[in-house]
Symmetry: C2
Amino acid sequence: MRNAFQDQLDAVFVDLAGICRRVENAVALASIALLEGDARVAEQVISGDAEIDAARERVEETCFTLLSLQQPVAGDLRVVISALRIVSELERMGDLSVHVAKIARLRVPELAVPDEIRPTMSQMADVARDMVARLAQIITDRDVQAAMALGRDDDEMDRLRRQSFRDLLSGQWSSGVEPAVDVALLGRYYERIADHAVSVAHRIVFVVTGQQPVDA
Amino acid sequence: MRNAFQDQLDAVFVDLAGICRRVENAVALASIALLEGDARVAEQVISGDAEIDAARERVEETCFTLLSLQQPVAGDLRVVISALRIVSELERMGDLSVHVAKIARLRVPELAVPDEIRPTMSQMADVARDMVARLAQIITDRDVQAAMALGRDDDEMDRLRRQSFRDLLSGQWSSGVEPAVDVALLGRYYERIADHAVSVAHRIVFVVTGQQPVDA
């Protein structure tokens, strides 16, 4: 039974890594839609989210089956519960990509992001995508060192978010209210994607070590 | 064993209702801080959040103990997992109240919300608080009808959010970029509080009936 349980649990983490790759793709495409003003790419992110939702449901059902049939206790129990929490956060990151894509779509044929803040937003998009890409690898490798390091990228995201507020509120802002509102919300969405990535990485540390990271 | 399990599960739901009452208080105080520009009340929300976090941890530990010692299967298992998800959403609603309080604090002695959008924001604050208050009662009573009805208040929140965008983007907006950015984010925070309230209410429907509501 023990080996069957471990095999099934390993399969769950393979699925989680696969969902994370889908989220990485959603973040990347949403950012392209945003920065290029491409409605077709935005639609692709929006309609593609159903696949992430369906994959989440499959992982949840597998976890429930594991809990019901294998009745894990102690550490094994907490690993299955961690998998349930990870899949829920990954799905949420997919939803946040959809929010980015919807703002992009709303402004086509214009760009939601004016030139004066494009460098900052473009960096936020890159950091978010990079964090999610590294998270997929962290899930695959159960890499504790890489998981702990992901928090440093989140510091970079926080720095970019503060920069975006400085850009908006410096008094130099010339693009008006509507782009300011879009940029404030876009910054929030990218920040939340990064927050979830760090949270999932910390759950991986817990899965491997049985300990919460000290800064979690 | 069966009765002990049910008693412990009932105690978990009493704790969840208590946490929801704390969140209701946090939402109410954050809105006072926001609309009155009261830094002291804002601080109260920000420092009080640690109690919600601690209460969440206690519920999580109880749920893990229940899962480990009682080894529930099928419906009972799903109810315990639902409780874990509910407590996580309630904690998040507390965090969102802290975000509202922090915007209020940032603008003291000014008000973050200019007069021209005060009616809309004030209604959003009222709807959010009312939804969380009703949610606490729904958790206490396991009231499926009231849980389903909560979705209608969320429609009202969505309407107010759209109204806030119309206020911001009408071309009549005279308060400048900084308040527009604050209002966009505040609207997002209240909307998310309402979303989580509906989600928790749907989880209560599942706990009582074993079925997801059709619109969930």
